[in-house]
């Protein structure tokens, strides 16, 4: 277990942290991914928290699509 962790740590260090160019690139890439994920997560939470209160949830009660 401890040995596996050490190997993982060494692998991560050698992959991402050793060269500063790779490190900074990884930071910016994960910042982008984090921003997108954060937005999606917060929006999902907001919609869940306000379920039944938003216009998109109650629109069908007031507007019936005439075909």
């Amino acid at each position: 277990m401890a040995l596996m962790f050490m190997q993982l740590a060494a692998t991560v260090y050698n992959t991402f942290f050793k060269r500063n160019s790779v490190y900074v690139t990884a930071i910016f890439a994960s910042a982008f991914a984090f921003g997108v994920g954060f937005d999606v997560g917060v929006t999902a939470f907001y919609d869940k928290w306000n379920k039944g209160k938003q216009w998109k949830d109650i629109r069908h009660k007031y507007i019936t699509e005439e075909e």
């Binding site: 740590a9 060494a10 260090y13 942290f17 490190y23 910042a31 982008f32 984090f34 921003g35």
Partner: protein, 278 residues
């Protein structure tokens, strides 16, 4: 991590055991050549002769039957010692209370700690970068037009009740917009002429999305008057201010106008039979 263990049990003696009547310290059991045991964490190099002491031939402290003698064989002026130097050359006692043994607490390998440190620094970088990006983009969004402004910037028009061969003029963003429901003969006329010789060469196909609907800004490209519909030499529009003639596709054909009448952005809403300008 081989810890050097002295064979002899080392003791922390008082610096001098006794003094001779002359005041010279006598320490018959003092080992002047002893070295501190090396551990894995002090980086003083491998064992061997100490490098930080002067070589033997320059003098140094020696043990004689008459006590400790310090001699200096050098050309430098001799320094007479007016005070006793206390000598600590005995082995450090590991069980001394002020020097705890931390070796059970030390990490066996520093890889994990190093990776964790870099990871924490990188995480802070990720958070800062995404906060900075979010600040910039939110600030730029404050400059964008809001939804109500965008809604006002569009005009919807029912085109089902405009008969063929009629003009409609509506106001859009403070400017008149001409909408003409063209007849088939007008379309043929607009498409049959040799448009490459015009002042602002443009084919009719470029100017309309649907051939029977001509939508364009009703502002003369010369000096901004509003042309009159169904007038002029070409059956299109005529600007009364300086006499520019536009044809049935709104192209400048005669007079001072340098360009064709401008086409705004528009699209057809087929389901509701509407024309949306903007």
């Amino acid at each position: 991590m081989a810890t050097f263990q002295a064979v002899k049990k080392a003791l922390n003696l008082a610096p001098t055991v006794r003094s001779l009547p002359s005041g010279v310290p006598a320490a018959p059991l003092l080992n002047l050549a002893v070295r501190a045991p090396s551990s894995g964490h002090d980086h003083h190099g491998a064992s061997g002769p100490r490098s930080d002491v002067a070589p033997k031939w320059t003098g140094g402290v020696s043990r004689t039957s008459a006590g400790l003698v310090s001699k200096t064989f050098s050309t430098a002026p001799a320094v007479s010692f007016h005070q006793h130097r206390l000598l600590h050359t005995s082995v450090v006692r590991k069980d001394a209370p002020e020097v705890p043994d931390f070796s059970p607490y030390r990490a066996s390998s520093t890889d994990g700690n190093r990776a964790l440190s870099y990871f924490m620094v990188g995480s802070l970088g990720v958070l800062s970068a995404s906060a900075a990006k979010s600040s910039v983009s939110e600030f730029l969004q404050t400059m964008a037009a809001s939804a109500d402004v965008l809604a006002l910037a569009k005009v919807e028009l029912e085109i089902g009740n405009i008969p063929e061969g009629k003009n409609v003029i509506i106001k859009w963003r403070g400017k008149p917009v001409f909408i003409r429901h063209r007849t088939q003969s007008e379309i043929e006329e607009a498409r049959s002429v040799d448009w490459k010789t015009f002042r602002d060469p443009q084919s009719d196909e470029e100017r309309v999305k649907k051939p029977d609907w001509l939508v364009m800004l009703g502002v003369c490209t010369h000096l901004g008057c509003v042309p009159i519909g169904e007038a002029g030499d070409y059956g299109g529009w005529f600007c009364p201010c300086h006499g520019s003639h536009y044809d049935i596709s709104g192209r400048a054909r005669k007079g001072p106008a340098p360009l064709n009448l401008e086409i705004p952005q528009y699209e057809f809403n087929e389901a509701e039979g509407k024309l949306v300008i903007g």
